[in-house]
């Protein structure tokens, strides 16, 4: 059994680690214990600023600090960062092209017991519609750490999506390399491509094994960058496998699946089926039954993979 670490834990650890190497400052909105920015605060208390429960102002303050040459990180739950402060992100951060890094935790259904009001299933859609915004959705702790450093080195606004629940470590820290805008083929395959992002990458790898038992050879692609999406990798996969299943912990409307469908429909039309929450709100519950209830499972990916193969011309 692989070690399990929540990507928010890796985010907090990365801020504390990279705080020594880069002159970053961190803002939070009364959620430092939950977003794990507390780890940065403990090491660099003079560069940490709690904004209280006032996300709109926090994004504006970060924009101003960036305009004065700082590299600010802001953190809250995805619901309140991408959701409540959407317009501040659009008008105060992205339109002026300011160097603000948004670390949004508790994204998706895996918030669990807190329920629908806190389970953000719309943030990828919201963030990727903003011109110039880089949108990252790491799959595990190793990728989360790398995404944080890539965000620091990128000049411009970045949205990073992290989860609450502990998830298996998929990648080897010693050999892993991360590049904004680049997807990675984790396993080759010829019959269907499973393009996954975030915690659904693990399910995609499980689905590949299940499909193999049925004689289906599935390719698995990890897209940690939602925007700019890796067009070349996806188009090549579409050409070589003839159909694609996307998997994300997000509404199937507007998010990663939509981004893939946009690329494929314009450049290499093949069937694209989407796994994600199907235009519904979440609910309270423990994480495993929630994932089951909303179809965020390897079994659902398998079903969609077979359906997509059946749609091939």
């Amino acid at each position: 059994m692989a070690e399990k670490i929540a990507t928010r834990e890796a985010y907090g650890s990365a801020l504390a680690e990279f705080g020594a190497k880069y002159n970053i400052i961190v803002f939070d909105a009364d959620l430092a214990e939950a977003t794990k920015t507390i780890k940065f605060k403990k090491v660099f208390p003079d560069r940490f600023f709690d904004c209280g429960i006032a996300e709109s102002n926090m994004l504006g303050v970060a924009a101003g600090a960036a305009a004065a040459g700082m590299i600010p990180f802001v953190s809250s739950f995805a619901m309140f960062a991408a959701g409540r402060a959407f317009e501040q992100i659009r008008n105060s951060v992205a339109y002026p092209q300011l160097n603000v890094k948004i670390g949004a935790t508790h994204a998706g259904i895996t918030v669990g017991e807190d329920g629908a009001t806190h389970q953000c299933l719309e943030d990828l859609a919201l963030m990727r519609t903003i011109p110039g915004m880089v949108v990252l959705n790491p799959a595990d702790a190793v990728e989360a750490r790398a995404a944080v450093e890539a965000a620091i080195l990128h000049d411009g606004p970045v949205y990073m999506r992290f989860g609450r629940a502990a998830v298996p470590v998929l990648f080897d820290a010693a050999t892993y390399s991360f590049q904004i805008g680049r997807g990675v083929t984790l396993a080759e395959g010829a019959d269907v491509t499973i393009a996954a992002t975030g915690i659904m990458v693990e399910q995609a790898l499980i689905a590949r094994e299940l499909l193999k038992n049925e004689g289906i050879d599935a390719r698995v692609i990890n897209c940690a960058t939602i925007k700019p999406i890796d067009r070349d990798l996806l188009i090549t996969a579409a050409k070589e496998t003839g159909c694609i299943v996307t998997a994300e912990e997000h509404n199937i409307i507007g998010g990663f699946g939509s981004a893939v469908a946009e690329v494929i429909s314009e450049s290499c039309p093949v069937p694209v089926l989407r796994v994600g929450t199907e235009d519904v709100f979440g609910r309270s519950g423990k994480v495993p039954p929630l994932l089951e209830m909303y179809g965020l499972t390897a079994a659902n990916i398998v079903a969609k993979a077979k359906a997509s193969i059946a749609l091939k011309k």
Binding site: G52, A54, S56, N57, A63, A65, A68, P96, Q97
Partner: protein, 278 residues
């Protein structure tokens, strides 16, 4: 302030008002009322108060300015042009398709603009971030922002007010241009935000109330703000919307309307007569 200096500032402010009228007339759109009301404060900021360098707009030790009530950028653009950040002739391109003078301030392409703004309530937060950055960088530049009175209905203004007091941003000075009117009518009729002086005081600010068309009072207020330690300052600046153009004064209809050719000619004539009489 001696009378010669007052006269000079009045002349500059009148030229800025002429620039405002030029901009909105040639754009056939824009917001003259609130631009004219804030023109004297903008004049004092750019010609007396703030450290700026027209040859190096991005000079890192400059004082910063954020026009939180961004729709009144005709006043700011006219001041920047008067100061020499860009040619005055360009004011006629305001809001035109190929112009860099956008309908609301855009920091990316307009020399001298420190922050994009226009969505109300957001500029004051950015100003807080700049003031905090100055402290972190051990810089002594000051940060100025101008808010509208209607803008104070935005909740974010009060989030920012809390933040500025909590972090003791005494290098931040906000001016609230209290002209009493917003798009839908008198602010006290639309959604009464008053009293604003005691509200800001309750939020932990140093508050100074002035007549925003009196350069002596403006000068004294900014001087007091600079001397105030451990608190941000709010200058509650009572003004007349449309100030300087008789038929626009205190008229709600001139919030966001451009003058026609006759009105433009009359406005220019009035402002030129004012300058001639100085």
């Amino acid at each position: 302030m001696d009378s010669a200096k007052t006269r000079e500032l009045k002349r500059i402010a009148a030229n800025i008002r002429l620039g405002i009228v030029e901009e909105v007339f040639h754009a056939a759109s824009g917001h003259p009322g609130g631009s004219l009301s804030v023109a004297d404060v903008i004049t004092y900021l750019y010609f007396c108060e703030m450290k700026t360098d027209v040859n190096h707009p991005a000079w890192e030790d400059r004082d910063r300015f954020v026009l939180s009530k961004g729709h009144t950028c005709p006043a700011l653009y006219a001041a920047l042009a008067e100061k020499g950040f860009f040619p005055k002739e360009d004011l006629k391109t305001f809001r035109h398709i190929n112009s860099y003078l956008q309908g609301h301030p855009d920091r990316k392409y307009i020399p001298g603009i420190d922050m994009s703004s226009g969505s109300l309530g957001q500029g004051i937060s950015a100003a807080c971030g700049m003031a905090l950055a100055a402290k972190l960088q051990n810089k002594d530049y000051r940060v100025y922002t101008v808010l509208g009175d209607g803008e104070s209905q935005e909740g974010q203004v009060w989030e920012a007010a809390m933040f500025a007091a909590h972090y003791k941003l005494d290098n931040l000075c906000a001016v609230l241009d209290f002209n009493g009117l917003q798009i839908d009518g008198r602010i006290t009729d639309v959604m009464n935000p008053t009293p604003l002086d005691s509200k800001f005081e309750a939020f932990g600010w140093n508050v100074i109330c002035i007549n925003g068309h009196d350069f002596n009072e403006i000068e004294q207020a900014f001087a007091k703000a600079r001397q105030t330690k451990s608190k941000p300052t709010l200058i509650l600046s009572s003004t007349t919307k449309g100030k300087g153009v008789s038929f626009m004064e205190d008229q709600v209809g001139w919030h966001g309307k451009a003058p026609n050719a006759d009105e433009y000619a009359q406005a220019v004539q009035e402002l030129n007569a004012y300058i001639a009489a100085l």
